[in-house]
Symmetry: C2
Subunit: 231 residues, 2 copies
Amino acid sequence: MAAKGSGARGKRSQRASGSLQPGKELSGEPPLSRQRIVAGAVELLDAQGVDGLTMRRLADRLGSGVMSLYWHVDNKEDVFDLALDSVLEYREPPQMVASQDWRGKVVYLLEDWRASMLRHPWSVSLLPRRALGPNMLSRLELLSKTLSGAGVAAADMNVAIWSLWTYVMGATITRASFDLSDDDRAAAQQRLTRLSEHYATIERSRLLLDDDWDGIFRKGLGFLLDGLSPR
Amino acid sequence: MAAKGSGARGKRSQRASGSLQPGKELSGEPPLSRQRIVAGAVELLDAQGVDGLTMRRLADRLGSGVMSLYWHVDNKEDVFDLALDSVLEYREPPQMVASQDWRGKVVYLLEDWRASMLRHPWSVSLLPRRALGPNMLSRLELLSKTLSGAGVAAADMNVAIWSLWTYVMGATITRASFDLSDDDRAAAQQRLTRLSEHYATIERSRLLLDDDWDGIFRKGLGFLLDGLSPR
DNA sequence: ACCTGAACACCGTTCAAGT
DNA sequence: ACCTGAACACCGTTCAAGT
């Protein structure tokens, strides 16, 4: 029902020549471009969170009128999509030691994925949208390649990829949304204790007090990989 | 930084008596209440999606002024939190066959969880917020209880719970956001083919064409449970 | 205890126009 | 090809007031 963008971007062709118009660069701001818009959006999101991103504020930061943005970008949705994908860009090519076994490689890949998103917590809440940007696809491709080098049966490949993908996504979201302050954590636990006839088990296991997210992520991933390992 | 609600709700006490003021029920709409607000919000969200929920529209639907809502509810965030948690309510107590083994029970629990959310796709995009409502906690409790009855080592309990929780969350989100139409799927695949020097592996495995989400969910969960099984 | 309307300070986007 | 301001149709929420 809701139009979600057709995946066919770039209804205007990007300038192919990198040449600057002489005289332009003297006038303060460089000209608007998709790249600059995305960079500005990420800065704004880092500083103010999801609700802080406003077309008007973004334009201000870039020194342009609001409506100028719309030449380069379809709408606000588009900006969100671009910002999300940009977080997943590899600034440098992933440095996997060639000698690592496939499990080590997968763990490395997925930990980097999670870390990239947690560096920009707003990206996590943008995740539940169709997010098939180029960087997301490259990471899927890389994961895919690693798995098929590992001897995962062809019939299980897609399941393996989706399970791992799913695990990172879920873990990242859980991590970002349950990352309470110590005080909040204590308060939540007290609430459980107060209602302990309903929540006896998780009260006893102190589930909400555990904050070793990195460890939990790694261990859970280990379990999943145990299950996925070719026999 | 952003105030996310402290978990302590109900700064005004809910009416404990169920008695109706005589004469009230003749005037058309029943009086506003937290319950009615949540129910209205869910209806609106089902009909219009996340962006369709507006305090004004919600008030309209309930036959009240906008500002009346704010007596019962802190703000729009609060409405979202309540709506999300209400999706996770058990309308009837979960019917697990007592004879089922623990794996069967866990699968049953998690499939119901996923199905409950997918019945209201907007709920998926509300997930990346701190969502510790009572219904979410009961489901965690139930999962917890099932696992500890299964002989999962106490030291692994929290990891097991979080991994499974994480898996459902991720799977649900993935499912909801990659649920493309056949046309979109074909278009995405074609895009991969066009760029096949970058995405050779996922192009070949036709990852994006696979739409057996229920099967994938179940199989991946199987792998995870294999890893988690007490040895 | 519960409900209200007016007002404030914003939004995203269309449109017609400028260079 | 790129940028702009004015205008439209909305928002969420504060406040002072009503019953």
